[in-house]
Every structure is written in C-alpha cells, then in structure tokens.
Symmetry: C2
Subunit: 106 residues, 2 copies
DNA sequence: CGACACACGTGATCC
DNA sequence: TGGATCACGTGTGTC
C-alpha cells in the first residue's frame, strides 16, 4: 500500500559548518531491559496483553519512513532558498520563513 | 525527581482537530536507574571516568531547546501559509515549498 | 573535552 | 485493531 520509493538516501541535512552529518548506520545493540513495577499497583494500562509482541518493527520502520520524508522536504527547501549555505534545520526553516515574507511583501 | 519541568508547552499545538499533536505530558514515573552489570563486561568504553556523571541532562535539555525552536518555526510557517488545513509537519513543509515556488514564478 | 546538531528507537495518543 | 504522528531521551560524530 504505501511504500513507494526505495528509501535510503543520505539526505542529511546537517552540515552546520561543513559538517556532513549523515552517517550513523546500523544500530548498537540491545541494551537495558525493563523493570518490574514496584508492586502494588494496578494502574498500568496494560497495553499489550500478555501475548508476545507482534512486531514492534512495524513502528520502527514506520517512523523511519516518516523521518525520511521530512528530511526530503528539508532538502528541497534548502535547494530553493537563495542563499542558504548550510545551516541546521532550525535556521534553514527560519530563513525560509523570511524568504516567504519577503516575497510576499513584493 | 529529575528533570526539571520548567518548560512550557506552547509550541503550538493546541489544536485538536488540526494537527497539533502536542499532547504528551509528564513523564511516566520512574524509569530505570542503573542496573547492575551482570559481571563480565569488560567491553564497555568507559566514557565517563569513574566519577559520577556530570550531568547528561545538559544534552537532554539542549535537545529540548533545539526541538522547541524547530517547532516554533513550524508554527510560524503554518501561520503564514494561506491554506494550510492541518497537515502534519511533512505535508506542511511540502506545501510551503509549493507556495514558495508559486510566489517565485510570479 | 564540551557544544552542537542529527538520527534512531520507543511509549503514547488519536482516528 | 492497526496505522499514523508526535515528543522525548540517548548514542554518536564533528568541531
């Protein structure tokens, strides 16, 4: 249903000063387990029934797609703004706003 | 205990139907403190010298700031775009791009 | 080293 | 029931 493209693209974004931040591959590994509740309390909405997980990777993957999409837009934005050198996401967004306002007032 | 909650959430998101998903509040109670290492772990790059932590919250807080700023921009953007119904961040960004392009061609 | 900026995984929430 | 979206905390690399 929805899962176009092939994803993967190092569109990063970073580069704050020539910083190419797009690396980070693979994940560390598992760590930390969870703890038991301090007893006495049934105030925990048991979201997942005792059953085992069905596949948390669904979310993990879903998030990834969402994030990629977002970054893609950031990239595009960066491309259309006149003098945008690098800047981080926040500044880029800020500049974009100024640009729009400028264009608008004309 | 931990994490001073002195931040205010106003980054836009008070809507309920539109898009503002800003809900999430407070923390879930205690999380995990430190666990004992199961012995046999001599493979950890001890980043922090034996000393106690200096304050990782520095980063935690720093990230929060960065994120808030980002959201602020998102809010502003949403405000200046003509017909922005609700859309999520990604779509909003996409619309903004189109808007810029439109303005530009004029 | 410490700051910064990023991507990732994860719990929560809504429809 | 499951997908979608968010914010948060964190590890990590660069400057």
């Amino acid at each position: 249903m929805v899962l176009p493209q092939s994803e993967k693209e190092k569109s990063g974004s970073g580069m704050k000063n020539g910083v190419d931040f797009d690396h980070l591959d693979l994940y560390p590994a598992i760590r930390r387990g969870e703890e038991s509740r301090p007893a006495a309390d049934h105030e925990k909405p048991q979201r997942k029934p005792g059953n085992g997980r069905e596949g948390p990777l669904n979310h993990i993957e879903a998030e990834r797609q969402r994030r990629e999409k977002l970054n893609q837009k950031f990239y595009a934005l960066r491309a259309i703004i006149p003098n945008v050198s690098k800047m981080d996401k926040a500044s880029l967004l800020g500049d974009a706003i100024s640009y729009i306002n400028d264009l608008r007032s004309k």
